[in-house]
Symmetry: C2
Subunit: 445 residues, 2 copies
């Protein structure tokens, strides 16, 4: 039976995708700013043999709705927000197998310092780090970093391409596999370490990497763009792709396209899903109603406004939204129009974004939710799911205690972690990227 | 009795200041790349009520000696090297009181992303983070970041000044103390959050901080420059100053100058020291001989060459070194000439740098070492010591098990941690910087 991979999809903030849940009396998401909340989460996920914790990030506030960040602040919509990389070492210290996929926007990083930070995490986690490559889409983030506005969409991917080759050289080319010898008089053999000289359009540097080869060298590469240019990038670089939105049929077309672009490299495709799980259908429906009663419509609209580049504060509830977004987030709007139909309204959108992860929640008993996930695998050819949280931590406990055993009983979920690094666990292959991936081609030995 | 503060001074690499110790059979510094080594160290230090772990960092390789990084690589002189910030969350998770002073070179950071990273650490550690502000001195680091060489020394401090005001605004001005309300409909009060608009010579941005007020807001500020311009900077910004090199009398003059510049703000001054401790004088002398037998002269010279900007590979052992360094590290060379006298040679330098932390090791029984530390406090008016490692972890165990009890018996060392944040512990005052410090003046509420 084809195995299903599960990631927990979370963010170092109060409201990630489901807005308002922090007002639920059992919710503890406002503890996002304590180490204990994250180490407990990691241990829960590892108990459920969850493949990885996928951490979102964004570098600006959501200020499109009403032209201010006020709604985002009021409803704790991804603000306040911590740096997700800093959560990983503490979680790694209390787990042995859980992978970590951390979102970092490369547009505001320098290759040399970023490469060292990622290498440090790969080393300290024993090869359990992944990187969700993003180039950003918020003007507010661009302004925070000293630019007047966001780069054009396709230019961002050109920048990203160059950045990738720069960090591949640092991760794969600078140190030979056997450079560290640990023999008296020769801790490292200098003949096996070389400088990387990069003279590109966007980046220039001349340096040897400071970190010796780590278990995976290049972290597991995640990517989530579904635009034309985004798919070209994914085909070249991504090992895992996170897709969102649309029917199974629409996702199936996207998945087929992504696999064709990556071939002959295998890729793992994860689709977003928000399970609302209980022992029985009736209990799950009751839970959904309870969660909905705590959801924040204004928070959801503030989030959607930024994702789509449309100020919903200007629209009436049932007025068709004039969806002519900037080029930067066109693919998000197109995806929304595919899901809601032409002439969609703010009301339709608010319904969709609440408990939705841009898709309707998957509500039901363990068997019903498992059926739906298996249907996605069968019909859309996805490899797994990025599961969003609702009321935490009970939503994670439900996944671990109800869904995972159901999937195991069906023979579609592992009963123990595979050995090795995150990459080995995901692909049942080696710890390092293999040709024809460009990171492997950058390797000197 | 005046209390003595102790920091452990370490670095995420094999050879920090004492080169070659990794070849000693009891040394475990080659485990620098495991989380367990750091969590064990943190627990040992907290057992000894050590104030903080001060982590050095550098962004380039030492390639002045012989014009290549070969000697640094062979002897593991601060390379390979991990990102020190990533060590903190794991250590914080297993301790409650230990402070962390992390070196970050601001010259290659953007204020917005750096401020968020530091705020995240302040939040996750419960207010136990400090920042050792450096502007770098290595051409190799500048080239790694895309510059052709290092900025001029005083220009770096002008850049640093502007950077500090930028991050103060993000840490202190952007969010009011009571902005986070955690009430339904109002997690954060938007009226209490404001954008920082910075239009400086070096940095421009327009953003609200993403992190809510953390326990200390601004981390405890360490600084180590002793040049004229460095002292001006320290007088304005530093709360703790790390001084190195020279006689007690010379350090006393430097300390008096620093205190005068900072007044009326109190500062804590730490001087570097390398204890070689055992139960008896004879055992300590035997230990020193044992450590010296494992020390690496070439490693020490590779380190010194970079610190002083002088290629010692070109000199005979007893030839006076022509010390005309670049402006960037002039103060280091002047300090060395004060210590060794005019016409100093490579041989004198190698003797000094081995087991030296730029000062002779403090060797002896607990009583002898305590006498010497108290003499430093009495004669040089320092507040404490940054203790370098020799053979680890036994050197830390000796500090905790032998030196600390001796100091406690003399009434000059705490018998329990003070409550509160790192700043409260160090200054017995509030968790936030107070006026007239410019960070406090930046605060909006």
């Amino acid at each position: 039976m084809r195995q299903i991979h599960l990631n927990a999809f979370d963010m170092a903030c109060v409201g990630h995708i489901q807005q308002g849940m922090w007002t639920h009396p059992r919710d503890r998401s406002a503890e996002y700013d304590t180490l204990g909340a994250w180490t407990r989460l990691a241990q829960t996920l590892e108990r459920g043999l969850i493949d990885g914790l996928f951490l979102a990030d964004v570098l600006g506030a959501y200020d499109v709705y009403g032209g201010t960040p006020d709604a985002a602040l009021r409803h704790a919509v991804q603000v306040p927000l911590l740096d997700p990389m800093m959560l990983v070492p503490a979680m790694a210290a209390v787990t042995q197998h859980l992978g970590f996929g951390v979102t970092v926007n490369l547009a505001y990083e320098q290759p040399f310092t970023f490469a060292r930070r990622m290498s440090t995490l790969d080393q300290l986690t024993g090869g359990r780090i992944g990187w969700n490559i993003v180039t950003g889409y918020l003007d507010s983030a661009a302004r925070a970093m000293g630019f007047t506005n966001q780069m054009a969409h396709d230019d961002r991917y050109d920048l990203a391409d160059e950045f990738m080759y720069a960090v591949y050289a640092l991760w794969e080319h600078s140190w030979d596999e056997t450079a560290v010898q640990r023999q008296p008089g020769q801790f490292t053999d200098p003949a096996q370490v070389r400088r990387v000289v990069h003279n590109g359009a966007q980046y220039r540097f001349d340096a040897m990497a400071l970190v010796a080869p780590t278990p995976q060298r290049t972290p597991v590469l995640y990517q989530a763009g579904s635009s034309d240019r985004g798919r070209v990038f994914a085909g070249q670089h991504a090992e895992c792709v996170f897709v969102n939105g649309g029917s199974k049929m629409a996702v199936a077309r996207l998945v087929a396209d992504l696999r064709a672009r990556a071939a002959p490299r295998p890729i793992r495709v994860f689709v977003g899903a928000t399970p609302v799980l209980a022992r029985t259908t009736a209990e799950a429906q009751a839970l959904l109603a309870e969660y909905r009663a705590h959801s924040s419509t204004e928070g959801a609209l503030a989030h959607a406004a930024a994702s789509l580049g449309i100020d919903f504060a200007r629209y009436d509830w049932d007025q068709p939204v004039d969806a002519s977004p900037t080029e930067a987030i066109r693919s998000n709007v197109e995806s929304m129009t595919r899901q809601l139909g032409a002439g969609w309204t703010k009301r339709m959108l608010a319904d969709r974004f609440i408990l939705g992860s841009r898709q309707p929640p998957v509500v039901g008993s363990p068997a019903e939710v498992a059926d739906e996930l298996q249907a996605w695998v069968a019909e859309a050819d996805v490899d797994g799911f990025n599961l969003s949280r609702t009321v935490a931590p009970e939503c994670w406990e439900a996944v671990v205690d109800l869904l995972v055993p159901e999937l195991q009983n069906r023979g579609v979920y592992k009963t123990a972690y595979a050995p090795g690094t995150y990459r080995e666990k995901l692909f049942a292959a080696g710890p390092r990227l293999a040709p024809p991936h460009p990171a492997a081609l950058a390797r000197a030995s």
